[in-house]
């Protein structure tokens, strides 16, 4: 219990809108050990990004508990929370809107130093220490020193994402939420960034929450995967288990729908009908009912709970429950 760096219990975030309350995150629970990576996978609007940001309290949760390093953080006052922010950072999806266009590369990377007592020296020596610090970080993430005074808009997406990573690393965090860090990048650049993140994890013992819509990316990266659909986790399992034995119909469809870059003799995809329904006014039934090929009467009786079917493998599905019994 206490060796978890992060433990999330029944985390819930409802957004109030004119049309009704949007169930962005609905009673999500998971825990994470230090140095490990949890992949959160799902399609747009499934609440994966909101989950990531709520954990950092960039969005205030509606209810639920978040334990970081054993400490409950949802009720911490701002000053206490600020101290904790040092340990939990985020890398954003869009390297074009996540960097202030009016700051140079070095200013962007050095900005976190202003808010925390990291630099020791005073006066002139402080400037030098800051420069050393920034250059060291730039070297860590693979940015050439000549870019020290350039503006982000002069750089390509891959380099900009490296700035974002350096900024997150500046405070030497324990946990980093990676919110689709490579989705906006070209394939050859994606691999560069993924390798960098992996290297950093090994060197610094970082813990990642890796949010993505791309299952093949998390396959490489994560130790455990949580699949989200309409605000809830529908399946959670260690990565090899999930890829080998996906149990939830949604996970199965998701895996089947990925276009694989090889010539396949026959197509074995389970094509899902319809589209994600709006997360407003959800009926009290399995969230996946409207698109599920196996939906039966009992699926419409309440939301199925997330149940452990094999050690470490959790599924929220009545059909799987039936087969178990």
């Amino acid at each position: 219990m206490t060796d978890n760096i992060l433990e999330v219990r029944e985390l819930t975030k409802y957004f109030q809108t004119k049309k009704g309350s949007v169930h962005a995150v609905d009673h999500v629970s998971f825990s994470l050990k230090p140095g490990k990576t949890l992949g959160i996978v799902g399609e747009s609007g499934c609440g994966k990004s909101t989950t990531g940001r709520t954990i950092l309290r960039l969005i205030e949760p509606t209810s639920g508990e978040i334990y970081f390093d054993g400490q409950e953080i949802t009720h911490l006052p701002p000053a206490e929370m600020k101290k904790l922010r040092k340990d939990m950072q985020i890398i954003f999806q869009d390297p074009f809107s996540s960097l202030d266009p009016r700051m140079t590369v070095s200013e962007l990377i050095a900005e976190p130093l202003k808010y925390y007592p990291i630099l020791q020296s005073r006066g002139k020596a402080r400037e030098q220490e800051k420069e050393r610090f920034v250059l060291e970080l730039m070297d860590t993430v693979g940015l050439a020193p000549r870019l020290y005074n350039t503006y982000p808009h002069e750089l390509d997406g891959g380099r900009r994402q490296r700035i974002g990573i350096a900024r997150a690393l500046a405070l030497n965090p324990k946990l980093i939420v990676c919110d689709e860090p490579v989705s906006a990048l070209d394939v050859s650049i994606q691999a560069q960034i993924l390798n960098l993140l992996q290297e950093l994890q090994e060197k610094r013992g970082l813990t990642y929450i890796f949010i993505t819509h791309n299952l093949s990316v998390v396959n490489h990266f994560a130790d455990e995967i949580a699949v989200m659909y309409l605000g809830s986790i529908v399946e959670k399992a260690p990565v090899q288990e999930l890829f080998a034995h996906p149990l939830h119909p949604y996970t199965q469809a998701l895996l089947g729908a990925i276009p694989v870059p090889e010539i396949r003799k026959e197509r074995q995809e389970i094509e899902l009908q319809g589209e994600v329904v709006s997360p407003i006014h959800l009926p009290d039934e399995c969230r996946f009912c409207k698109r599920c090929p196996h939906c039966e009467d009992r699926c419409r009786q309440g939301v199925p709970p997330l149940r452990e079917v094999k050690p470490g493998h959790f599924v929220a599905c009545r059909k799987v429950e039936n087969e178990q019994e």
Partner: protein
Amino acid sequence: MKKEKDTTISVKENRAVEIWRQYRRNKGAMVGLAILILLILVAIFADVIWDYNTDIIDMRIGNRLAPPSWEHPFGTDNYGRDMFARIGYGTRYSLLIGFASVLIGTLIGVPIGAISGYVGGKVDNVIMRIVDTFTIIPSLLMTIILVSVLGTNLFNLMIALSISTIPVMTRITRASVMVARNNDYIESARAIGAPTATILLKHVLPNCFSPILVQATLRVGSSIISAAGLSYIGLGVPLPTPEWGALLSASKSFIIKAQHMCLFPGLAIMITVMVINLVGDGLRGALDPKLKR
């Protein structure tokens, strides 16, 4: 992973030098700046160049309504006073009214708009409804009401114009803050623990600078014109102060006999407004690193 080999740090230019280098590329803005500096110098040293009593207000009836000549390049007015000297001296009032009213209006309007846009919710609602009530009244009418209540003099005119500038600046600031705060870099600043005030001052407002600056420069022009308009209907700076609007106003009875009397003050207003817009446009370009080339 291959690291990039280059190890030299590019030289960091002083921010001011950089801005100036950028600014210089815009030819129109440079011309504008030259004329604006000239106008400001004239305004500052008006007392050195002209003697207020002998050159500006002394009447020489024998020489009234003389057309432009070498001696009087802009001709003389209905009291025989040199129009060139009067327009030159008037720079002082017009520029002061234009700049001061916008400066005051901006200093008050921008913070209100920024808070309204960034905080949102109920605060935003209350602020915007108040601003709305001010906006419903046409700004010239508003100024007229204020001046009639406060009394006609230069200071009151400035205050009245400032007050009618506030809602304009509040609105534009609020709108651009609402756009800017949705960027991920705001979230990013929060994630690294930046205090709200810092985020607002360092990340949100600088990125709203362009529309605010454009609006402000436009307002300088329109304040000068409003002031001229008020003077024209006799609510501005009292005679014989050679404020440009007052000069125009005085010319109205002589528009057939002596066109130069209305031509030159009109030109002065037009050129000044244009010059300020040119400078504003240049500044906007120079301050935005994205437009750097």
